[in-house]
Amino acid sequence: MRTLVFASLFYFASFTLAAGLAFRVWLYARTPAPLKIPTTPAPLTRGGVAVRMAREVVLFESLFKSNKWIWLFGWLFHVSLAAVLFRHLRYFLQPVPALVALEQPIGVLAGFAMVAGLLALWGRRVVVPRIRYISRASDHLMLVLLIAIGGSGLAMKFVTHTDIVSLKAFFLGLMYLDWKPLPDDTILAIHLSLVAALMIIFPFSKLLHAPGVFFSPSRNQADDSRERRHAPRGLLAAGRKG
């Protein structure tokens, strides 16, 4: 029964995440950008834009300009999350690639760093009046959810080990449609439920900043309005004729 519940849950969550994100990305891509609005100074070429975007996504350049504390905690969280996700590949890939095996200890450390970053961000959300003012229930709960995911994950490593061999069998089974039982473990159940919840919420929440940043016209447009004609479809053409 529990295996069936979690198997269905993960199919549903994966579908919602993939379909939801795909829909959103499709929506962003098909919505016209009628005018050139890069925040200047901006790169003059598409290649330059790619570099600017990479600096934003990898280094959080604008955030660094803005506020060193938010940058530090936010960057720590995101980089750690990336390391943790990379570490988790070992539960989904057979055989485990050498790089993933090599990264395991870093991934474990990153688990702590991730939770630390999240706690610090939450602390600012509660303590700094400006940020408390702009926070809604969902902003707090999103942090709680992520901290709970990190905490339950760490608990399985450092408090009560779970049967990761069976767990991997369960996930490989999900992927290859050859279902295997999920180990009976409360913390694991909590961890997996929260992760599934996160996946389901993702395309309907502010987590859309992940695809959103790539579509942000102020960041992804080149400063070339005098060199290259920007004539998007629709909207403005009507006025020209009239």
């Binding site: 050139k36 925040t39 200047t40 940020i131 403005l236 006025g239």
Partner: protein, 515 residues
């Protein structure tokens, strides 16, 4: 809360860190509202004369349309994570402490409505995600706080996703216009452009007289017959400038500077009565249709006069529309000479001549001016000059350094891409908004106070009609001289040595060793 607060005394607030973060003062600026446009100011722009009956439904529908047609709006409304990076970046927040002047909170006034009507979470669990119905109270907040944004884009520099509150404010103003709740100041001005050709409503006769007067003045002063032509067919350059340049100080001193540069360049140029306005308030109200109608006037004037080049005078938001939007709105400009940038900024024009060694200056003529430079927000963050990113910062400074012996920059966090708005941009330059204009200028005034105390700076140059008009009013409030704001081309005008002019002769005589 607001009524209990003592009256704001700018002079008591002029010393301090320009970007010092104030304590939150909830609701402090809720009472700041511009006059509502009457039917006479609404209808020429295609907007209903008064608040329509089913305004709520109409507003939500219009929001849906806008989101469907603007990737920026859709992405910005979805992406904010409430990280707080922008919260201390708006000059209106720094000056007022009203939390609804924090960029994210201003955006949320619209975002909460977007969430309520257009997102699953907002429909299902509005209380959880801060989604709200569009009520009269929310609309009141919109009218108040979306007219406390000068669309200066400072927040967008600091946002990790580049969310630009200007885009949100423009959308909100577009929605309000659509339901009949327009802003008098901007809409009346757009009407004047349609009827007369410029924001100030200066008729052709007045323009002609002004320009003739200036020609006399320049000849008297220099001995050189510098012309300021109007509607001259066969000119190579159409010069489009904010109408304030024809009207008031220190704008007009800048205009004289343009004329002297054009004369020295030896080009055939002209102003146009039909396009006697560079500014485009269609952008302020977020109406692409009206912005396009205003922009098309410039195209028509260029075609009718048969010019080959377009040059724009000192104007901030105007340069944004010209540089970034003009080709999209009114192009393609195939009939213009593509060997020159289309359009070109007068600072680029002057700088080019300087580079070619065609302009001579006597810097000592500006020795009474110890200068700093105020980067106008829309030039800084929504346009460029020259062929390198950041040319919009370097070129005006290069001109000032070439024409003036004493130049000092203000604190780095208040200039360049981080420049502070003057406090009067984006359709806020109207008397009933004086309170927010004064408070919004506080960060800039503090930065100016710093260089005045440290380097003895006496004057601040700018390249925007709104900045100049705003500072003329605001400087005295903060204890500075009203005339401490100058045009960049005013400095050019003072120092330039026109070929054959009295000034050039005197200068050359001084340079020659006595023999």
């Amino acid at each position: 809360m607001a009524e209990a607060a003592p009256k704001f005394d700018p002079k008591a607030h002029v010393v301090g860190d320009p970007i010092e973060i104030p304590a939150l003062a909830c609701g402090a600026m809720a009472g700041s509202k511009p006059y509502v446009a009457s039917s006479a100011h609404q209808q020429p722009l295609g907007f209903p004369g008064e608040l329509v009956e089913n305004w709520q439904e109409k507003a939500v529908a219009r929001l849906g349309e806008l989101v469907d047609n603007s990737r920026a709006l859709r992405v910005y409304l979805d992406s904010c994570v409430k990280c707080g990076a922008c919260t201390d970046k708006c000059h209106y927040f720094l000056g007022t402490g009203d939390p609804k002047n924090m960029p994210v909170a201003r955006q949320d006034l619209l975002r909460k409505v977007y969430r309520r009507y257009f997102t699953l979470s907002g429909k299902l669990v509005p209380w959880l995600v801060g989604a709200e119905d569009l009520t009269k109270e929310v609309l009141d907040d919109w009218y108040s706080y979306f007219h406390q944004c000068s669309q200066c884009r400072r927040c967008s520099v600091f946002c990790p996703y580049g969310i630009d509150t200007a885009e949100i404010s423009m959308a909100a103003r577009d929605i309000m216009d659509t339901i009949g709740l327009g802003q008098k100041y901007s809409n009346e001005i757009i009407g004047k452009v349609f009827n007369i050709g410029n924001n100030l409503g200066l008729p052709p006769k007045a323009l002609k007289a002004t320009l003739a007067g200036l020609e006399e003045e320049i000849e008297e002063d220099t001995g050189v017959p510098v012309r300021l032509p109007l509607d001259e067919p066969g000119a190579d350059i159409l010069f489009v400038t904010p109408s304030a340049d024809f009207f008031a100080s220190p704008h007009m001193e800048g205009l004289i500077g343009y004329a002297k540069v054009m004369h020295e360049a030896g080009v055939k140029w002209t102003f146009s009565t039909y396009a006697s306005e560079a500014a485009n308030f269609g952008m302020f109200v977020g109406s692409q249709e009206n912005m396009q109608k205003v922009a098309l006037r410039i195209r028509k004037a260029a075609e009718d006069l048969g010019v080959k080049r377009l040059v724009f005078g000192e104007c901030g938001h105007a340069w944004r529309v010209a540089y970034s939007f003009l080709d999209t709105l009114a192009g393609p400009f195939d009939f213009l000479d593509r060997d020159y940038p289309v359009p070109q900024h007068v600072c680029e024009f002057t700088y080019d001549l300087m580079q070619k060694g065609k302009l001579r200056f006597d810097k000592s003529k500006n020795d009474d001016f110890r200068l700093t430079f105020h980067d106008s927000c829309n030039v800084a963050r929504a346009s460029r000059m020259g062929d390198k990113p950041g040319g919009q910062f370097e070129i005006p400074r290069a001109i000032l350094r070439a024409t003036c012996n004493h130049f000092y920059d203000m604190a780095p966090e208040t200039i360049g891409e981080k420049t502070l708005c003057c406090g009067g941009g984006g359709g806020l330059l109207t008397d009933e908004l004086m309170d927010v204009r004064i408070k919004g200028a506080q960060p800039r005034m503090r930065a100016l106070r710093d260089v005045a105390d440290e380097h003895g700076v006496t004057h601040m140059a700018a390249i925007c009609a709104i900045c100049k008009a705003q500072f003329s009013k605001i400087l005295p409030q903060y204890g500075f001289d009203m005339e401490a704001i100058v045009s960049v081309h005013q400095m050019v005008s003072n120092a330039i040595l026109l070929t054959g002019s009295r000034q050039a002769e005197e200068y050359d005589a001084q340079q020659k060793p006595a023999s």
